[in-house]
Symmetry: C2
Subunit: 596 residues, 2 copies
């Protein structure tokens, strides 16, 4: 049933050799004492927990799924999920990066991030339960009143309670402005909420004592559209003042969805029949408050893509070394066997290296952004905080869309390595593909991410955020442009940087005359930016590998090979994408809808 071994060496390479996390954290008073040893120890423990506790439940969780009892409105998670969650709580994992004022361990997000990669590799469906709780924690931490914080945060941090986000309704997903759920103010300062929500991940389950739902709804007389939406805390059980569970709140699971993947996670239809809620973040400011949650969630979804890419790669690699079939085109490589292991075949390697490069690129990228987030939150210099915030804002949609699209490609290539066996459930590969598919959809479809990047994050400030990131790329190019050994990496990076600048200006000019040009270019445009980011990180990683190759540590040899593969085989996608992005809106919009 496959394997998962946390890629500790590559994680350490990224954190310590590429990002110099220890010295970066020294600049942040809150994290100044987090050294490499502490980080490595956490990663090692995380690797054990995820491999030994979560991974063994991944395939069985997929086959079994969740069970809904309609009479009692209860949902039972797959065998072992509840027990694994208990272990997770007892080990203190939920508290890792949470605020010490409320019982957290206060470790940096960049460490938590690596742990989430492992959890997602081991079991994405399971990881969504604590993952959503962490989002709820962040939202209440940022927008809650002191009372709300002291009531909810300790329980979310300990993991005794979990959280959800209840946004989507049957008629509105992307377009939350059409939301219909209603909140009626009560004399005691609470609200009675009525409405029907769908696609609520982890909406009901048996893993925690209470579930803290964050629910979007409209107040009476609220403005129409997205400016009239408020956010409410709606716990499954009304908490008593001492934190124990009081009465059952009428927010019930009406059904769970049958879906393509992540079967181990309960995707619930939630009905609110006069459920009691508490306003959070001010009247009509719901979307604003929810965006904290959504931005965290978008980074989290990128990590899901990375996690699946890594685990699919690991398993395809084992299979490719083990399975013998045909001889190498250039003659037998294992003459003692009746056929060669399929890893000798060039195209099998193309598939494996696609996954390997996408995993290593994503790992560098996500860890970098997580570190920028730590700096945004904790750096003493306001300008640094501002710069980091800009970079995180710019790169969040790229993380979400680029990594999850790549994970779809990579998991599918890894399935293909298995030939017919890849299609058979028993081998586990097809589950990774099915699980990967949702990541391109939820927390804002990848089209929405692309519009967010191009429309909001880039064109709306005339490219200021992009230029700041571009200046980093440019500085690297200039610093390494005369290093001959680096030219195979620096040249394509420099070329792509220039092309992104030109392309952005061109689309900006066209969009000025016709806003549809943004929608027509956004999806290929985001992928071009994604490749610029990966080119930047692969060039940096190649530089380190070149410097350390002579050490004899073969890790660096492999890293160089992966970087070369990236530029030879994945980077060329930009030649297609730029043509697509430049092709304009007429090829999409000129045909009348009824002639389709």
């Amino acid at each position: 049933m496959g394997q998962y071994i946390a890629p500790l060496r590559d994680m350490q390479f990224v954190l310590h050799e590429l990002l110099n996390v220890e010295s970066e954290l020294k600049q942040l008073p809150k994290h100044a004492d987090v050294d490499a040893d502490i980080i490595n120890q956490i990663l090692e423990e995380g690797g054990k927990f995820t491999s030994e506790v979560l991974f063994p439940l991944n395939h069985s969780g997929d086959r079994e799924g969740c069970h809904h009892d309609k009479t009692n409105h209860t949902v039972t998670t797959p065998k072992g999920f509840k027990e694994a969650y208990k272990q997770y709580v007892e080990a203190g994992w939920p508290a890792l990066s949470c605020d010490p004022d409320f019982g957290g361990q206060g470790l940096p997000l960049v460490v938590n991030n690596s742990f989430y990669e492992m959890m997602n590799s081991a079991n994405q469906a399971w990881t969504m339960y604590p993952g959503l709780s962490h989002g709820a924690y962040e939202c209440i931490h940022e927008h809650g009143t002191d009372e709300q914080k002291s009531l909810y945060l300790p329980k979310l941090i300990s993991g005794e309670w979990t959280g959800t986000m209840c946004l989507t309704e049957p008629h509105c997903g992307t377009d939350l402005g059409m939301l219909r759920s209603k909140a009626e103010p009560q004399a005691d300062g609470t609200y009675k909420i009525n409405g029907a929500k769908i696609f609520i991940s982890a909406g009901e389950h048996d893993m925690s004592d209470n579930i803290v739902h964050l629910v979007l709804a409209r107040l009476p007389g609220a403005p129409e559209g997205s400016k009239g939406i408020s956010l409410f805390i709606v716990p499954k059980f009304l908490p008593n003042a001492d934190g124990t569970n009081g009465a059952r709140n009428p927010i019930f699971c009406g059904a769970i969805e049958e879906k393509m993947g992540i079967h181990g996670n309960s995707t619930c239809q939630m009905n609110l029949d006069g459920a009691t809620g508490w306003l959070i973040g001010g009247p009509h400011k719901g979307l604003n408050a929810m965006f904290v949650f959504m931005n965290a969630a978008r980074l989290g979804v990128g990590m899901q893509g990375l996690g699946l890419t890594e685990v699919a790669y690991q398993n395809a690699l084992v299979y490719a070394k083990d399975r013998i079939q045909m001889r190498s085109l250039s003659g037998p490589k294992a003459p003692e066997k009746p056929a060669d292991p399929i890893i000798v075949h060039a195209d099998v390697r193309r598939m494996l290296l696609t996954a390997k490069a996408y995993a290593e690129g994503a790992r560098a990228f996500c860890s970098y952004v997580a570190l920028q987030l730590d700096k945004e939150l904790n750096h003493p210099d306001e300008q640094v905080r501002k710069d980091c915030a800009d970079e995180v804002a710019l790169l969040t949609p790229v993380i979400k869309a680029f990594i999850t699209d790549n994970a779809w490609t990579a998991t599918s290539e890894c399935l293909q390595v298995y030939g017919g066996h890849g299609f058979i459930a028993e081998w586990g590969m097809e589950q990774y593909v099915r699980d990967a598919r949702i990541n391109m959809i939820y927390e804002g479809t990848n089209t929405v991410q692309s519009l967010d990047l191009l429309g909001r994050k880039i064109l709306m400030d005339n490219g200021a955020k992009l230029r700041k990131f571009g200046a980093k790329v440019q500085a690297f190019v200039e610093a390494n442009g005369t290093n001959e050994a680096m030219s195979e990496f620096v040249t394509p990076l420099a070329e792509l940087g220039d092309k992104v600048t030109k392309l952005t200006m061109e689309i900006g000019m066209k969009a000025f005359q016709n806003p549809d040009e943004v929608g027509a270019a956004a999806v290929p445009y985001l992928r071009v930016v994604g490749h610029m980011v990966y080119s930047y990180f692969f060039a940096q990683m190649a530089k380190i590998a070149l410097e350390k190759e002579a050490s004899g540590d073969t890790f660096y040899k492999a890293k160089l090979a992966t970087a070369r593969f990236y530029f030879a085989r994945l980077y060329p996608e930009t030649a297609m994408l730029i043509r697509q992005a430049r092709s304009g809106s007429a090829n999409l919009l000129s045909l009348e809808a009824d002639l389709f």
Copy 2:
């Protein structure tokens, strides 16, 4: 639960306006009296049968799957499958393109082909049962003795019996040379066959009276490898001389596989415990005989990709017109509604048009190749037959791999149109994606197809077959190069033709020094050729549409828009593919396997 309406107008456009099938068939004595009316009547009836009988069983068949009774070795197909098959047989559909000497209707393959597109759109899992029978029919028709023909063909043609192909074993899929099943000659001229086969589609089921297995096995003392494999007819029930069923032959289903998709089709492990078989195609000539079956099957798999692309497109289109969400970036298009239908959004159109263009390109391509196959089999002029055979040989791997890869992309894009609903089983879209995944694997993985195209079909004859096809492209370019209205289509076609020529020569030269260069280039190379083929057909279709646009029939306007979309948005993939194909083998093969 969705819809399927046979795309009769586009099928008729391809057959009558693009391919002039009626006048082409007039040159073939066997089909000289098949006119457009007959063809249209068959298509119409086929459309009814597939929409009304097969499509309603597609989703339920997926949810229910097949059931294996281990004690009795029986397999029960999903509810309704058996009854639908009865209707199919009673209507005479299995006989459509079969030999009249054995009860067939003798219609051309190009007509049967369109019918198969419809069946695959409506229900790929169901269609595999008769689809494999048709392959068995072709194999016995070509290689069987007179006795075998008269015993088996009438039953396969009537549909009373179905067929399978039993190639794969647990340790060998692509590498049939490692096959271990054994056939012992008996005194009566039959053989006792022992072995274990896996992945046998439609291997056991309850739809027909008997199942005719075509089984690969080794004779005693056979040469090692693929030159020592023989083919045997192994019926489930030994037929009496009068065609009734005799004794049960010990070829039993040991298990059915749980798999990612095509749940309605029984994928069987088949155990042969001294099963009686009859040699077909001569000792050690098994692969040769099986190739007839496999080539038919490869075209069939391409049609599965086309079928899924079409039905996914139709449903995504309905949804995109119906679902309202957000306003167009260029201002409200349906101001009377609370939001615009999502088809106004440029990127939703990109997704829809991707599927539409891939469906229409594949339809033209497959129908063309089916017509060449009719000519290969029936044209009075030997040179024409030879030329057509060359073209079919060249294009078969392109049909199989290019169309199924595109179907994976297209069905996934159509799923994405639905947002979160696309991931939910109830809407039916995720089934199309899951079903589409197998088509890239079976009947030779798409990597194997690419190696077949580049290695066997092109480099082995120094590009002679490719040059013949290229001459047709060139002739079209020259005939239309001065037509200004056509330049937007002819220019990219001409450019790509030149690039294919150069790329082929370059890879050929490199392969001369290092055979691994073929494996390193094959997969992107096949897709480049695929785009050359699609460019050729879209340019031809655009020409017709330009000529008839003034008629006011909006079909031509839509066709032109699709062709323009193809060249603007899909054709640019060639810029990436050519770079990948040229990048050589070192980026894949230089890293030692144990450093991965």
